[in-house]
Amino acid sequence: MAIREGEVQEFTLEQLKHLVSERALRGETVLLNVGPQHPSTHGVLRLLVELDGETIVSVVPDIGYLHTGIEKHCESKTYTKIIPLTDRIDYLSPMSNNLAYVMAVEKLMGVEVPLRAQYIRVILTELQRIASHLVWLGTHALDIAAMSVFLYCFRERELILDIFEMVSGQRMMVSYFRVGGLWRDVPEGFEEAVRAFLKLMPARINEYERLLKRNPLWLQRTKGVGVISPEDAIAWGVTGPSLRGSGVNYDVRKAQPYSSYDHFEFDVPLGENGDVYDRFMVRIEEMRQSLRIIDQALRRLPRGPYITPDRKVTPPPKEELAWSMEALIHHFKFWTEGFSPPPGEVYHAVESPRGEFGVYINSDGSPRPRRVHFRAPSFVNLQALPIMAKGGLVADLVAIIGSIDIVLGEIDR
């Protein structure tokens, strides 16, 4: 039923009785909507919160306010043209999404990726992880009202976005990775820019850490808040820093190394108590580890092609179009029709800043996928929110949402 302007559709308690406790029906507790228009739900998440005074009795997340239909949309696009759609799933880590998607297609078609492309992919996705964690840190601190950290984080994130703009021409929606490699080689000045960032960043991370870790108010607000046990975290399918905060050592980069991650040395930081503070520390430490990986990859960055020579998935080089009729025809066919992977299905996961980001592709042998599904870590991690928040106070809820680091674009897809 469509709602016209001025008309108001009211809910009654009766309609919600499967979601709330007996006490709410008797009027002893209050049902409060937190979101979709709320400063701390990181987008358009709605939470139906049952409150006893300020104590949380239960939380029911309600999603779908940012549904974009990306998965369905993929079914009508050729494999190459899906890449820009993946940027928009988790808009804070387009590089990771690109990577997961192109690697899934590569797996489906058995394409080899040149080492240089793999290393550059690693550098960029790790930069992306830092950028995403900076947004997380800034907004998380802002939620607990440490407002200055927010702008400091965004100041450093700008540097990363500048690097992205340098390589891809775009700051956020990069679409830089291609099936078989990259869109183009990194431009001149890329290595210098990354080096400059590597030099600056460790001091800045220390600064954020000092601003918060030595602040007794911050410790009071985060320690022992939003605890989730390792068993619960695993049972609910939580991945990424939120899982590692509970002390479970699972990182896709180590568990199923991809894109040459096994060439680099890095540690997987783990928490102990599974509270907001541990998740905070895990992410701070992850930024340092990312710097380590970037440093190694940059030092050992090999020369060579940036994309596979396999013409099945790569358009011919531009200069060839000037003299080769075959190349011209191939170019035309590639961009109008696309390429057709063999029939079958494939799943590939990467460690996105938020956890295990997986792509499932079901191909029927045509140039367009039959079905694409994205395993969005935020979507799965959000399920653990009710467990973490139960029994806490309203102020804790805000801290917990921040500590799970959700992106609504990814949840609703």
Partner: protein
């Protein structure tokens, strides 16, 4: 300036009047200047963009009232400190002993309330 102890409160009265004036202007001016386009949706209480479920003015946990009661008790007792504070200089040891006893009784109540968990905010 005329004498009389209550006269020193007259300026406070004028200050209240001036404050009321400023407040009155602030409350009335938008009625004349600002647009008025009420609609049902606009006038609903804001609850993050959703239509509220149930009224806001409900029962509230008794905990709040308990703390409020404790406050009233202690606050009244603290008011007794003011006249005493002025007289300590002249009464010396007598004032000290008397207030010591008073504070002792106060402390017994305070420790009792603490042990009873009145200051623990159940989470």
């Amino acid at each position: 300036m005329p004498d009389g102890i209550l006269l020193e409160y007259v300026p406070i009265l004028t200050l209240i009047l001036v404050g009321l004036g400023i407040g009155g202007v602030a409350l009335i001016a938008p009625q004349l200047l600002a647009p008025k386009r009420p609609s049902r949706r606009k006038q609903l209480p804001y609850e993050s963009g959703m239509i509220p479920i149930g009224p806001a003015q409900r029962r509230f946990p008794v905990k709040f009232y308990l703390i409020a009661l404790l406050f009233i008790l202690f606050d009244i007792e603290i008011i007794f400190f003011y006249p005493w504070a002025l007289q300590v200089r002249s009464l010396k040891t007598l004032a000290l002993v008397e207030m010591g006893l008073f504070v002792l009784i106060l402390l017994i109540g305070y420790i009792y309330a603490w042990r009873k968990g009145a200051f623990e905010w159940e989470r």
